[in-house]
C-alpha cells in the first residue's frame, strides 16, 4: 500500500479537431493521497474528462505516464481496471434494464461472488434510498436517482480507486447533497481513494484535496483550505446604502486593486488584490458603504489565479454595454412587463404547472428556480411562447401570448441552454441569419451586426465555425444573437452553466448593463450562484411557487442557530424539504 493511488507524470494529450490541434492536457503532474477524496476541478473544456479517461486506460497519452497504485496504465490497463471503478458522465446505466438488473450486471462484471451479493445489495440500496425501486427501469428514474444508482453500480465490489466524472452535473442541489453524503459514508468509511471531477467550484471545499485544471493545465493543487487560506483577509461584503447594487458593482469592477466583484443578494462581494486596502471602496465613490470582512471561498482563489494569468497575457479591459440606441426609459420603471396569472399546464393527467402567478417589472432581473421536474422549464417555455398554456393569463410586454404570439415574440430575445446556435455556420453567418429572422433589413441590419461584432469582441472570430469556438465565446455569440433586435425582454435558460468563472462574470456584467437600460431579464436556472444575481426570484416545487422574494428574503426563511449565514443553496434545500414533508403529511392524512 505504499504506492499512491494516482501518480500523473507530465501527462500530455492532444486532439485534432477540424485540422486544428487542441491540447486537452498539457504536462499535468500530480500525486494523490490514499483514502482521500481528490477533487478534479475546472470549468467545461478544462480537460477533466480527458484526464479521467486517461487514468481509466481508455485514452492513450501523447507523452508522460500514469500510474495507479504503482501500475502503469499504458502497460497493463486490465490490471488497473481491476483496481478501479469508473462512473462516466451519464452514469453508464442501461436505461432499459431495471435497478436490480443493472446491479446484477455490474456485480457479474466486477466478479462479486453470489454469496456476498445479498448483503452488499442491501447495504447499497439502503444507502441510496433505492430499495423501493428495484423493479423500476433505470430510464424511468429521476436524474438524482440515476446518479445514485450509477454510484451504487460502481461500488458493488469496493474498488481501491473510484473515479467519478462530473457526478453532480445536471442534478438539483438536494440530490447533490445526498450524493456527497453517500461519498462520505461509503468512501471515507471504507478507506477508498476517490477522484471526483466537477465544474462547481463550491464543491471544492467538500474535497480533501484539489487539483485545479484550466485549459488543460494544472494551475493549482493541495487541500482546499490552502487555496482559501492564501486569500485570507481579502474578501469583503460591501453594502451600499441608498445606492443600487448594480451601480456599486460597476463602480468597483475593473478598478485597480480589485481582484473580483460579484453581486450577492443585495450586496456586492468584493475580493481585493494582495496589497490593496478596503478603503478603496470609498475611493470608488461608495461613500456610505458598509464593508464587512467575510471568509474567503475557493472560487476567490481560482479567480485570483486566473487574473494573474490573464494579466500576464493581456491587460485588463472594461466592458461597455450599450444595448439600445433608442430611449428605453419612456415608461416608468415600475411598469409590469411580464404578468402571469393563475397559469396552469396539464400534460394528460399530470399537472406540470399548478396555478402560479407572479409579475416582473421593467428592468428587473427575475429568477425562476426549481429542482428538476419542478415545472420551471414548462413555465419558461410558456413564457417564450414555445408551449401553449392550458389555462390562465400570460402577458409579455403587454401582449397576450394566446392571441398575438408572433408580435409578442418580436419583443423578446431568447438564449437557450447550451447556447444553441448553428454549429456549422460561421459567427458572421449566424449573426446574419438571426438579424434577418428578427426582421432587420438593410442599413439597420448592418449596423446591428457591426454592433454585435464590436461589443462582444467577436470580430477576430467572424469567419470561424461556431462549433469550434470555446464555450465562453459561444455564450457571447448566443447573447449577441438574442440581442440583435434590441428586445425589451430577455429570456435566459441556464445562461452560464459550465462556463469558466471569468466568462461568467463578464456575462453577468453585460446582463446588468442591459437591466440598467430598462431591459427586463428572466432567468431560469438551478445554479445557486446564478440565482444570486437576480433582483427577485421564485422557487418552484411540484408545479407550484414555494417562495418568492429577493435572495436575502429567501435566505432569511432558513436562518437559524445551525445556519447563521445560510447560502442560497441552504435556503433552496430547506424550502424543498419543507414542501416534501408537507406533501408526505398530506398523503398520510389521506
Amino acid at each position: 500500500m505504499s504506492d499512491p493511488p494516482l501518480v500523473l507524470d507530465q501527462v500530455t494529450r492532444r486532439f485534432s479537431i477540424a485540422k486544428r490541434v487542441v491540447v486537452a492536457l498539457d504536462q499535468v503532474s500530480a500525486t494523490t493521497t490514499p483514502g482521500l477524496v481528490t477533487g478534479l476541478i475546472g470549468p467545461d473544456g478544462a480537460g477533466k474528462t480527458t484526464l479521467m479517461r486517461v487514468i481509466a486506460g481508455l485514452l492513450r497519452v501523447d507523452s508522460g505516464g500514469v500510474r495507479v497504485f504503482g501500475v502503469d496504465v499504458a502497460a497493463d490497463p486490465l490490471a488497473v481496471q481491476g483496481m478501479i471503478s469508473y462512473m462516466p458522465q451519464r452514469f453508464g446505466l442501461y436505461e432499459d434494464l431495471t435497478v436490480q438488473e443493472n446491479l446484477d450486471l455490474y456485480a457479474d462484471l466486477q466478479g462479486l461472488a453470489s454469496g456476498l451479493r445479498a448483503a452488499r445489495y442491501g447495504e447499497l440500496l439502503h444507502m441510496t434510498g433505492l430499495a423501493a425501486f428495484t423493479t423500476r427501469l433505470a430510464g424511468k428514474l429521476s436524474g438524482g436517482m440515476k446518479q445514485k444508482l450509477g454510484l451504487a453500480c460502481t461500488l458493488i465490489h469496493p474498488p481501491r480507486l473510484l473515479l467519478l466524472d462530473e457526478p453532480t452535473v445536471g442534478v438539483d442541489p438536494v440530490s447533490r447533497r445526498e450524493l456527497w453524503s453517500i461519498v462520505d459514508h461509503l468512501v471515507r468509511g471504507a478507506g477508498m481513494s476517490v477522484l471526483l471531477s466537477t465544474a462547481y467550484l463550491d464543491e471544492a471545499e467538500k474535497c480533501d484535496e484539489v487539483l485545479l485544471l484550466h485549459e488543460g493545465k494544472l494551475i493549482g493543487s493541495g487541500p482546499p483550505g490552502d487555496f482559501t487560506k492564501s486569500m485570507a483577509g481579502r474578501s469583503f461584503q460591501v453594502r451600499a446604502a441608498g445606492m443600487s447594487k448594480r451601480v456599486a458593482l460597476t463602480a468597483l469592477t475593473g478598478r485597480a486593486g480589485v481582484t473580483d466583484a460579484v453581486i450577492q443578494g443585495e450586496s456586492v462581494r468584493l475580493v481585493l488584490d494582495r496589497d490593496a486596502k478596503p478603503e478603496l471602496v470609498r475611493e470608488a465613490g461608495l461613500k456610505d458603504a458598509v464593508v464587512i470582512p467575510v471568509p474567503p471561498r475557493f472560487e476567490d482563489r481560482f479567480i485570483d489565479l486566473l487574473k494573474i494569468k490573464a494579466m500576464a497575457e493581456s491587460p485588463a479591459k472594461t466592458l461597455v454595454m450599450n444595448p439600445a440606441s433608442r430611449a428605453s426609459t419612456q415608461t416608468q420603471p415600475a411598469d409590469v412587463v411580464i404578468e402571469v396569472k393563475h397559469l396552469i399546464k396539464r400534460f394528460g393527467d399530470f399537472l406540470a404547472v399548478d396555478d402560479i402567478s407572479f409579475t416582473v417589472r421593467r428592468g428587473e432581473i427575475f429568477g425562476l428556480l426549481g429542482a428538476n421536474g419542478a415545472g420551471k422549464s414548462t413555465t419558461f417555455r410558456m413564457l417564450c411562447g414555445l408551449l401553449l398554456a392550458s389555462s390562465g393569463t400570460l402577458r409579455v410586454g403587454g401582449f397576450d401570448l394566446s392571441h398575438a404570439a408572433a408580435t409578442a415574440r418580436g419583443q423578446l430575445g431568447y438564449m437557450a441552454q447550451k447556447f444553441s446556435l448553428y454549429g456549422d455556420l460561421s459567427v458572421m453567418q449566424n449573426l446574419r441569419f438571426f438579424s434577418a429572422a428578427y426582421g432587420l433589413t438593410g442599413q439597420k441590419r448592418r449596423q446591428r451586426i457591426d454592433w454585435a461584432l464590436s461589443v462582444f469582441e467577436l470580430t477576430p472570430f467572424r469567419d470561424a465555425t461556431s462549433r469550434d469556438l470555446p464555450l465562453g465565446f459561444k455564450q457571447r455569440m448566443a447573447l449577441a444573437c438574442a440581442l440583435m433586435h434590441e428586445p425589451e425582454i430577455l429570456f435566459l435558460d441556464e445562461p452560464t452553466s459550465g462556463v469558466d468563472p471569468l466568462a461568467r462574470r463578464e456575462f453577468w456584467q453585460r446582463i446588468n448593463g442591459l437591466a440598467d437600460h430598462g431591459v427586463t431579464v428572466l432567468v431560469t436556472t438551478h445554479f445557486m450562484d446564478e440565482a444570486e444575481y437576480c433582483d427577485r426570484l421564485v422557487i418552484m416545487g411540484q408545479g407550484r411557487i414555494l417562495a418568492e422574494g429577493t435572495s436575502e428574503q429567501l435566505k432569511d426563511h432558513c436562518r437559524d442557530e445551525s445556519h447563521p449565514n445560510p447560502t442560497m443553496e441552504d435556503a433552496f434545500i430547506a424550502l424543498i424539504e419543507a414542501n416534501d414533508a408537507q406533501i408526505a403529511a398530506l398523503a398520510r392524512q389521506a
Binding site: 411562447g385 423578446l412 437557450a416 444553441s420 448553428y422 446574419r432 429572422a437 428578427y438
Partner: protein, 369 residues
Amino acid sequence: MYHRVLALIIKEFLAILRDAKSRMVLVGPPLVQLLVFGYAATFNLNHVPFAVYNQDRGTASLDLVAHFTNSAAFEKFAVLNSDNQIKSLIDSRQVEMVLVIDPRFSRDLLTHQPAPVQVIVDGRNSNTALLILGYANTILMNYSRTWATAHGAPPPLAEIVPRALFNQNLDSRWFIIPGIVALLTQVVTLLVVGLSVAREREAGTFDQILVTPMRPLDILLGKSIPGLLIGVIEGSVIILATVFWFKVPLYGGLLQLYLGLLLFVLAITGIGLMISSIAATQQQALLGAFLFMVPSIILSGFATPISNMPVIIQYLTLINPLRYALVVIRSSFLQHPSFMSLLPQYLPMAALALASLIAADWLFRKRAV
C-alpha cells in the same frame, strides 16, 4: 416576410454544405447507387453458359450449335456425351441451359419431319429462365428459316416480325437508368428535408427560431424551398450523367421532363416535411424516411411492372408519387410525349404535392404551437 424566408433558405444551404455529414448524404448514396444500378442492375443477358448434348452425327446439328456459340448471349461451357451429365451441370449452376439434340435430328430435317431439339433451362431464377428461353427460341427460328430457304422447304405459313419501339435493342439500362433519376432525387430530397427539422430539434436551435417573430408558414417555406432546389439540382446532375456517361438518348422534351421533376420533388418535399414534423430526433426521421422509401421504390414500377401486381396493391401505388415520376421521366427520355399526354401523371403528382404540403403544415403547427 420575404427577407426572413430568404435568410432561412440561405442558412439552410450553409448548414447543409458546411456539415461533412450532410455533404456525404448529398454525394455518397447517390454516387454509389448510380454506379451500382447503372452497371450491376441489368436484365440483359450475355455470355450465358450452356452445354450441348448432341446425339446427332449430322452436319445440320453442328451448324445449329454454331448458331448458338456465335451469338453474344450464349457461351459454350461443355460438350456432353451422356444424359446423366446434364443433371449435375445444371444442379451445380455451372450452366444455365442445356441444348439436347435428338439422334434423329439431321435425318428428320432432311425428311421434312419435325426435328426435335430440347432446351433445358435452370428455373431457379425464373426471369433469367424466361429470357434464356426467348433467346434460344429466336436462334432456333432463325436457324430453321435459313435452313428452309437453303433446302427448298416450304416457306413458313406466317411469320412473326417483332419490333420494339423506343428502345430498339431492348437494352434494360435504358429503362433502369432514367428510373434512377427519380429514385435518387427522391432519396436525397427526402433525407435533406426529413432530417432538417429533427436536426434543429436535437441541437436546440428550433426553439431559437420559434421564439423569433417568424410564423410557421415562413419556417415551412424556408425548410421546403432548399429541399426543392437541392432535389432539382441533384436530379439535373443525374440526368446529365445518364445522357453523357451512360449514353441513354434523351429524345423527349426537357420542359416536359422538368415539369414532372418539379411536381415530384414538391410532393416528396411535402412528405419529407411530414416526417420531419413528427420525428423528434434524427434517428426517428431516418427510420421514417427508410420506412417510406422501401415500399415506395418496390411499389413504383421501378424494377417490375405495376401491372404484374395484385389489383389491391395496384390501387396502393396510386398514392406513390414515384410511380408517376417514373412514367414522366422514362417517356421523356425515350419517347416524344406531349404535355397533354402526360397530364394523367402531372395531375396526381400535383394533387399529392398539395395534400402532403397541407398535411405537413397542419402537423407542423400542431407540434410547434
